[in-house]
Symmetry: C5
Subunit: 365 residues, 5 copies
């Protein structure tokens, strides 16, 4: 069988989609991700303690104009639709963002990342959520901020920041009194808060699956367990690097973070720590489900075997007795004995009851 | 089968309780936890080496009055019922406690935490115990202390600190001679001491389950093992961060901890280290129970199979012999031979004995 | 089945021995451990290069007298029976030992511990050995030493230090020429040397169990594997913290350790490292035994199934043939054919041989 | 059975290819790897911002001439075919490369390595890819560079660097404006980019295998899972050391790396981090496949057992009834009763239906 | 069954070879290892750039004479047979080696160790190889070296250093031009090079075992897997501490190591890193073999069950039909119908074919 290993290796069913080796030019901004036809939009919210001004669907010139002339405001520039790399590059050019940062913004497969430059900070992380079909969606999300403005780069329109917009609009909490670093914190906090929802959905899925396995292994399937495993691995991949980066934020000495914001960053680190602990607990539980599934199968097998054994053990001996008196020997004294037939029935009954008693005592019913 | 993966993913049985994405305002004090109708109570014990004075059910003004004017006492302010966020916020306001601290106190899902501010220290940890139904209960517990007073925040009335109250009342041990840092230590020590009880209950549960699995796999169930796993994971989640924090306490250079208290903190660290080691040992043992369960099932299956095999192997050949002499061939010499019937019985007996001997030698009985 | 989880949780068989939450006063010396009726004894060996003097069964006054006046000797004070907390406290008082140290000495569940005070050092570790019944025994052992004396605290009389007494008595090796730090090292070394014996017994037990599982899974049982696992976990719990502490000893800069003793401490660390490596190897092997046990069971099941399959496959078809010619159709041409009976026998024989050949080729015999 | 362990240890089938112990002289350059008959070629690309000059198939003298006299160019010396150790040693001699470096270049089994000398840097890593047969190929790749030239050592001609050659030729991106350190980065980046393709192929293989296991365990085999495991281990072995080394590069203070290149090295580290995370996720998934395979087998066994149990449980009792009325007792009242035969058929039908109902209710169909 | 746990604990088959607790005197040189009757021999090779002189079978006086008077040579003193502790102690005395070092040399169970004294360095490691029977042999090997001589302590004569002797004799490579530190490196390098052979043998064993398990689980046995596991654990135990020590060597600032030797030590570390990585890969693979073995057993069981199920499912219904027409009812209309017999045969044939078709479609053949 061993000589066939190499052939087995590539069964006909598997046609590898071999890609040509393509070497990307570093710093060249390329959109990596699902294609989309949404139009790219730039919305700016300019606010200070007194006023909030909304600039929807800004042109690049308008953005440049805002950040260079309206210094009395803080500007939250929301760039929605990173697939338009042309616009992205132009914006980066105008605001002097490093090409590698722009590359990381356009690459939606990019892992979470923190880059602290002299006069601005870049932070990329993943928004994750379950869509209505219960599938896990990962969206790439980048933030660039300096003293006077903050740019958030999103793949698509999202409701996740609505509450922050409300807080700015209604002057709830400290957000209007604080600098861009506080908004920076608030945005990340919104994303991390959302991680809780994801872990709760995973919790529900796990418990639902666990219940079904316990009830009857055939209600569940290994593919479900495997899917849940993949989902948890995928969430871990998004959240764990973020944890490290928020830790870095917390201990960073970059002057863009105000001392008063540091306490909030510490709090944020605490939140994401709690999320990662939850994920790891579900990891342990889901990894244990396969064992549960196996023992559930084993249990069922035991049931099946018992039915077979009981039926066979009772009827095979009886059939044997019937067979004996079906023999055609000329001389079989019992055959002529009148009550013999009923005696045989009696013997059979006794045997059956004895076996049933034996199985009862073994707790096989 | 693979195309059905996506559908399988959300069986009808699973209705996800999708929550709207809600972004909490940082520093906004919100009670997170089970609803309760108990009334919030503040009790203060003021003590020094000479005197102990009890102020039950204080108003906030009374508390402020005590801590600002009765400087000759140390005050232990016991705030019971953190669900009253209004009162909590007011108290925090009066005593100038950071809003994030108050948020962590009101959030009973908050993981253990240590925050050392310039003039006070905040410590949050979990009281865990098994209730009378044997279920694991986790209560959130927070302490804030400075040079002259200590505030303990509890979810509900608890007997865990009674012995400390007795020690203060009766002047047992060093507690009346020492500062608030010693009381701080004593409170945490009481909580950690209680962890021992929890690990002992887990030990009992584990051994009970182990015994039942060894006796008969059907006395136990995988769901019990899974529950115990979850319980241990839950305990770990409460205790392990506390270990880290007590380690930090021990090496902290904050001036609120007196040098003489440091030895006690080292001792405390030692205690929690021992608790965590115990938990990890039970973790290893419980994780091994599923294997025991599986092998117990396998053993039972072996038993069932042996009964089936023995019954079948003995009676199927006998039935065959009976069948042979039940054939209706006109010319079958044995049929006419008179003792043939008895010879056949003899042959059957010999066969049966031979098979029994064979199974005996294989140790199948 | 799931709704019964909560009930299952506490089967009637499990009566939790709920203890009242008892908060121990820190620094209060309480004996924790098995009760014993042995009397507490203090033996002192005073020695220097020239002389050895034995003071058996000393009173506390005598001890104080020795350590304060006979400065030309080093005193090894052997306190046997830590359950007498009164005497322990008095001794501690006389020699000014910190109450927390005394608490750790009286608590025989205390994990290994090293505390370096300004003028004395406290070290606690576990003596472990297998008793004659093969059960693992853990005894708590504490040492306190300063420049002029060393106090060893034992639970009960022990033969483990006899060789050290001999070396002192007979002036073998360096022990009489060196200070108390060397004796301190020698005592720990004796305990660690004994760990080798423990790991060797575990090795024997493991190999014995492995052999029996390989021979026949029914000679062994999962409970034995589980017991061995627990034993190894218990040994690890005693030895691993000790390893850390000896490492600390080795790199400690406390002035009580003479430079020349440092080489011996390094050697000691090496020994305990080797012990821990051995324990971890047996850990790996024992954890693998459950798999061996399972595959051994599976193998047996295969055997059973083969017997059943062979018997059934041979005799069921034969019985069918016999059944055919037992039918009572009026017109069955074969029945009248004279040699038919023998032909049928022949056919049966050929079928049987063919099946036997088939099973042989499948290597089922 | 245990006494046979030692014999079992070396079954006849295993003839160990014992090699003579051979002690290699350190610094002696020996080719370790598969034999090849390709000729060794040295191609040089000399470029600066203005010009690119190609020198194909250079002699060693030509190379020396280029690097010593044409200082206005940067030279990329591509040495293809490291099996020619003579030429390799000569080149090393001319350009004063340390013998140990040359040894590491010629040893294609060498693990990834970074050596920073005072005036040049040596970096060795693995090019890995799947060949057309889907087998994993590892090629050894070494780079030596200093201020004015870079030498890349390859086992064989490769298309992986074509895009870099294009970028140099067409002046795309920054490559012509930057120093040798940027080319150094670009070469490593090309190799690391290729790791993505490898992990994607592993992803495809894993998913294909997973699908087939889910469909029917017999479509897949444990040998495939084992092969995939080995492949992942092999990839890890190549990539993980590289990760460490790129980390070192990133934090190195060697003056050969320009400050502007540092950002690219950080980016590179990020890429390889992402690759290693992907590999570890597939590792987890593939390690879980064996469990899926086992449960798939168990499921099939359950199917088989159910068929057996249903068939046996239905027909064995029926056969018994038929057997009863095949008995030859002289007095069996039913035999003479005319409709008896049809009543028996009826009873049999009812029994069969009852059993079918029973199995249906157990969900066995 | 549980009450019998304690008895089970020590089955009669297990007689623990309880050893008396023996406390070894630290620094007392005792041979620990297998007894041997070989005579201890000291061979000295004295060499410098110009000359090599061989002194075989030297007396201790001769050795002392050489190292004190012939300062123009470097002396490689090869002490073969460390069981002669008397000679070892005398040599140690003459050359002022620390007693603890001598103890570590004579204790062949000693784990790898590096001790750097002010004027000499001690290094102990394990030579491991497979003997002709394929069993793993571990020999203890110690080196002591200072500026002018190097002493290698071996358990027995060995061919492993022949190539080094050749290099010295023939002045190959750098060995004659360098100091004792280079010889020190060369000796360790020879030992580490040999580790490659060991891992290759393990590789062969693993692959052989894997092949046999894949072909037929009964060709292999769990005891083989267990043996291979133990072998790998044993190799790890020898190699991993050595890795740490070579790392220490590499970063050591001891003045005995010349700067030029440092590059070789770095290379050495690289080699042993590669060995340890290989060992860990085989560890992973071997640990996975038990799963393969189990699934192979499961597969076989499936085969067996299918044969049983097919045979039973085909013949049990047929036997039932035959049984029906073997009944002796007086009124059974079919019996008198002439072609009935052949019709029954036809029905049986059709049933059989239908079942065969059913099993074929289930892929059971």
């Amino acid at each position: 069988m061993h000589n066939t290993l190499k052939q087995l290796h590539y069964p006909k069913a598997l046609k590898l989609k071999r890609k040509p080796i393509q070497n990307q030019i570093p710093g060249k901004i390329t959109y990596v991700g699902e294609e989309t036809s949404e139009e790219t939009v730039i919305n700016v919210i300019s606010y200070n303690e007194e006023k909030v001004v909304y600039h929807n669907n800004c042109s690049l010139e308008k953005v440049l104009d805002l950040v260079t002339h309206e210094k009395e405001f803080q500007h939250w520039i929301n760039f929605i639709g990173v697939h338009d790399v042309k616009k992205l590059a132009d914006l980066g050019n105008l605001l002097q963002i490093h090409p590698l940062v722009l590359e990381d913004i356009a690459n939606t497969k990019q892992r979470p990342k923190l880059d602290e430059f002299e006069d601005y900070v870049f932070f990329a992380l993943k928004m994750i959520f379950h869509n209505d079909a219960g599938l896990l969606i990962k969206n790439h999300f980048g933030i660039v901020f300096n003293k006077s403005y903050i740019i958030s780069f999103q793949q698509s329109q999202d409701s996740i920041f609505n509450s922050i917009r409300d807080r700015i609009h209604n002057k709830v909490g400290r957000i209007r009194m604080r600098g861009t670093d506080y908004l920076f914190y608030a945005l990340i906090d919104a994303v991390v808060d959302n991680y809780y929802n994801v872990t709760e959905t995973i919790e529900e899925k796990t418990e639902n699956l666990e219940d079904r396995i316990l009830k009857d292994a055939h209600n569940a399937s290994t593919s479900e367990i495997q899917l849940l495993k993949r989902e948890i691995l995928s969430v871990r991949k998004a959240i764990f690097p973020a944890k490290e980066l928020i830790r870095k934020l917390q201990i960073s000495k970059h002057e863009l973070y105000d001392q008063s914001t540091k306490a909030y960053l510490a709090d944020l680190y605490d939140h994401i720590l709690q999320v990662t602990e939850n994920v790891d607990i579900y990891r342990e539980i889901v990894w244990g489900l396969m064992d549960m599934y196996m023992s559930s199968l084993s249990n069922k097998m035991n049931q099946v075997m018992k039915v077979l054994t009981i039926m066979s053990s009772i009827f095979i001996p009886l059939t044997f007795i019937a067979g004996v008196y079906g023999m055609n020997f000329e001389f079989m004294p019992e055959l002529g004995y009148r009550p013999a037939y009923f005696i045989v029935w009696g013997v059979m009954l006794v045997m059956t009851l004895a076996l049933i008693y034996f199985f009862k005592r073994k707790n096989w019913f």
